[in-house]
Symmetry: C2
Subunit: 200 residues, 2 copies
Amino acid sequence: MARMVAERSDAIASLAEVFREHGYEGASLALIGKATGLGKGSLYHFFPNGKEEMVRAVLAEIEQWFEDSVYSPLRDGDDADAAITAMLDETAKYFRSGRRVCLVGALAVANTRDLFAQAIRGYFVAWVDALQAALVRQGRDTEQARLLSEDAVLAIQGAIVLSRALDDPAVFQRAIDQLHARLAFNGEMLDNNASGSGSL
Amino acid sequence: MARMVAERSDAIASLAEVFREHGYEGASLALIGKATGLGKGSLYHFFPNGKEEMVRAVLAEIEQWFEDSVYSPLRDGDDADAAITAMLDETAKYFRSGRRVCLVGALAVANTRDLFAQAIRGYFVAWVDALQAALVRQGRDTEQARLLSEDAVLAIQGAIVLSRALDDPAVFQRAIDQLHARLAFNGEMLDNNASGSGSL
DNA sequence: TAAACTCTTGACTGATTGGTACAGTAGCTG
DNA sequence: CAGCTACTGTACCAATCAGTCAAGAGTTTA
């Protein structure tokens, strides 16, 4: 019966964490209530459409964070190379070197995918597009930049899966390091045969 | 009250499909019953420990399939290059070009990870080890082979996530093609200094 | 034929699910 | 001060959950 602190936005970080840890179906209202410190009454006051709306709010916040911290510098930063380096470092930090799951990626392989398909797609489209823009600004061919950026985003997602499966954050870090090498503009440009880049 | 056909093994393919589509928590006994055509009584007759035992049975069958179809040829095939090519093609077929989720990968990012941690880890360790063995037989350095095989397995997992997120199987196929190029032994071996390939 | 075994059914249980309703309480506005 | 809105706790709901069980049906063995 109190008004405690409770702004809607305060809850979102906790919500994100509980959905990451338990998934959409696994995150029960009891669990959510415990994680946020909010009762059902408050939860349904802030999110009248229940869990679905909670996830949408979380996805929106995630998208916003990536937009500000990653996509925007990639698209508009004046130093493309620096923006790419920053993206990899920020990403590694964000995912805690693979110890933290990517909620969007997890939703993409879950049965709930259809419910959030648009948000999921938007997240990845924006990421690939922004990275491609940076690679083009590096002087790369548009098509090669597209493939390379797809490849990079995919590698990050795979690195989360594999490093969790092996319970070894070093796997994630190696993948990031690998991407540093493959995405950097070294001054000496790779020739158009991209396949040879696996020197490590 | 009939004895219909019902061998335990008959159910496993259906079980795998339903766990892939709905995840561990999302696959209710009602859903499982519908998918397998078995009532609760039969399910608990074959799998006395319930869902957990069902998933273990599915994981064992998956592991066995990969062992026979992928790992074993990679480790012991007389033509390493052919085994790698076969692995990529079999894998692409198995995952239906990304339309089908990797159950092991999905479990790895779910909260149920701990329950099946050993099986999940075993699956990926075996995959990476087998691929590494093939790459070494190609004549590559042990350490490079290790990193490259980690990278390939990770890319396949990431390709499933991204192609589902974008709802575009072509993303998966491009990743497989990319791996074909990166894992093939071209006759002209990459030296450890990649810059030397100088086309001009 | 009779007993033994293997499978199947479906009703049942107690717990938990997401969600609703509502009374109540605190803080703000007038 | 009164009245309003914003928030909170809780009792409650129907549905569903995983899992149990006794009774029965079909097959195999003797």
